[in-house]
Amino acid sequence: MARFLTVRIGLLLVSLVGASLLVFTVLAVLPGSPAQVILGTQATPASVRQLTIQLGLDKPLWQQYLQWVGGLASARLGSSYISHQPIGAQLVQALQVTGPLVLLSLVVGVVVAVPAGMVGALRHGRLAGTVIGVLSQIGVAIPTFVGGIVLIILVAVKAHLLPSGGFPGWAEPGQSLRSLVLPAITLGLVEGAILTRYIRTAVMEVLASDYLRTARAKGLSLGKAMRRHGLRNVLPPIVTVLGLEFAGLIIGAIVVENVFTLPGIGTLLLSAVQNRDLIVVEDIVMLVSGVVMLVNLLVDLSYRFLDPRMVRRT
């Protein structure tokens, strides 16, 4: 186990360094001088040069890279080129919105998908199974922003039940949760629809398996056989998909935050790209990459608990 962990954490660090090189290179070749974008079209060339020097963008690329990575490694993120606000504080502020949003969406997705997927598999070929199959297809097909706008019109503008967007800050937790309900449903339903299809397939595979037939033959009821032998075998593929979906949720959050005007990581990333606030873009991409890699590591670790055969193999 210790050896497994060491290797996996080593791989994670190598991946992070690779990601940092990739992110830095891509942004370095992105056209549009940050100083010119900041100062606009009215600025004199002398002002633009002056600002380029102030931002340190006149230095060789490898120096800029080392300075940035050094800051990341020592958790000194510095200040944004443009807002002059500390980046660490901005990220913390944005994570207070995106973190709860992603978790709530995950809850919504799982709460919808687990029963729907099970029913879809057990009632396969009958009315309930077909309805769930069709609904999940529709859920996968509808773009997040369309679902969000429909919810805003129905729930916020027409019925005045929940706010149409915005986020008051965690000083009033009740208000904040209320404003996350619609975004979490928007994002969670789409993820739930995707997850439903995976759960349905996994359960159907288990239902058709030899060991389940044997368990039934020994006299166990379907429910008992599923609980004792089936669920454990359904879990590994679903945990894998959940891990992948987690990355999907973070990407989906960028769209949903825009629709509901939430001041989260997605909004920060979009505005930073538009303003050529390169350090902020780089830091957010690294943060998201790190989180996704960590989730993947946790998924791999979870196999070892869900399926003891995996331990023997490594």
């Binding site: 056209p31 974008v37 600002l51 050529r276």
Partner: protein
Amino acid sequence: MSGRGRKAALSAGAVAIALTAAACGGGSSPSGRSTAPTGGGPLTVASSVAPPTLDLTSNPAAAIDEALDYNVYQHLVQLDPKGHIVPVLATAYSVSADGLTYTFTVRSGVTFSNGDPMTPADVVFSLQRAMAPNSTYPYKAVLGGVTSVAVSGTNQVVVTLSKPNNQFLYDLAAYSNGVVLDPKAVGTIATAPVGTGPYKFTGFVPNYSLSFTLNPSYWGPKPGVSSLVFRYFPNANAENSALQSGQVQVVDNLPNPQDVSQFKGNSAYKVIAGPTNGKIQMTINNSSGPLSHAKVRQAISYATDKQAILQAAGAGYGTVIGSDTVPGDPWYLPSLAQVYPYNPAKAKQLLTEAGYPSGFALTLTLPPYGYAQTAGPLIAAELNAVGIRTTIKNIQWPLWISQVFLHGDFQLTIVDHVEARDVGNYANCGYYWKYAQCSQVASMLSAAQAATSQSGMVSGYQQILTKITAAAVNDWLYNPDQITVAKANIVGLPTSGRTESFDLTHASIGGTVSAQAQAQGYSS
């Protein structure tokens, strides 16, 4: 230039032009600040683009000036919504006969929102900070003609120019260079702005909101609100929904003019539309190929139906201008809009005369702004109809800045030149449309700026406008309106977009606005 997001372009050669220093100099006309609006309650204003920073001296983003200028920061002189210059932190000003020396009497008894007294030395500090060699003020070039700024006596500031410029007062009023800063608070200008205006900064959530209370030490009558919040909405649907669901009471400038139909005719809302300083134009690269021929450029102007473009892209809210001037400029000439009426047959004839009877191919580069995205395909169809085969290319704004604006790598593009009185761009030979006769315009401009009479100034500028219009340097489409939508009980809002600031000095919820403020262009 460009959309709400970014102010743009202008005269690197500087010259944004202003009215009447000489003509109305010496005035100390009362500024209409005797109003004491009644009413109260928190006011929330929705806007579409969030300020990228709070430091308006480091970044030209219109969103910063919109919230902070005039509301938190004040100038010696400012513009009212009618576009007239009014004394604010100056009580009076005078101009010497040679047009080189401006003397301002600084208002006494004014304190910054942190309690520091505002002194003539602070005024000098602020202007010198903008002019300093290492300053990166976005409109630094506007102060290029200033040779010295000094305190005189106990309460006066004297500004000396190297050559006469009758636009100096306008520049000081219109551009954020003119803000008076507290030297002791300037270190935190990006995180905690401090000024002398009616509102005091309290908090900023990036990309989300900007909050203010009333400035307890404000020298004038306080606005009729208890607090002020600007809330930022990256998409227009969310902005309209927020107004309809009551989260905000004002949308300061509808990003899609077509959305007016959701509010017009509903007595719960009022729609306030008035001109901006913007010129939405199809910029033509004059430097090479067919576009270097005046007849080809004239043909393009004849081929575009500006009235139809205004209807489609601006929902009819705006004015067809036909040149680089907008209603409200002292030298505005409505007849320029009639120089190239929509006439495809005439366009084809001019193309034949220029030697292109079977047309040619062009690329129209579009930035991601609503007006350009709507007008672009229309114009491409109109140009195709006269034989100019037009391909559309969409690019992001930072790319537009580097490719189109800096490197001149374009043939046609559509952009809103939002800066006021920016005809000086035609005197700048390096400017991205590469006008061949820029040097002649430069000398005409110097003469117009040095004019000591109002009529001399007006005719000087009109000669420039007539010249660039005859050469069809660009295809000027229209001057868009600023469209504000508010709950019916909100008063004292600016009725035009002539100031960068969304000036809420006279705003009130359920109160009244004095006749004097109404005359200056604040809504009743």
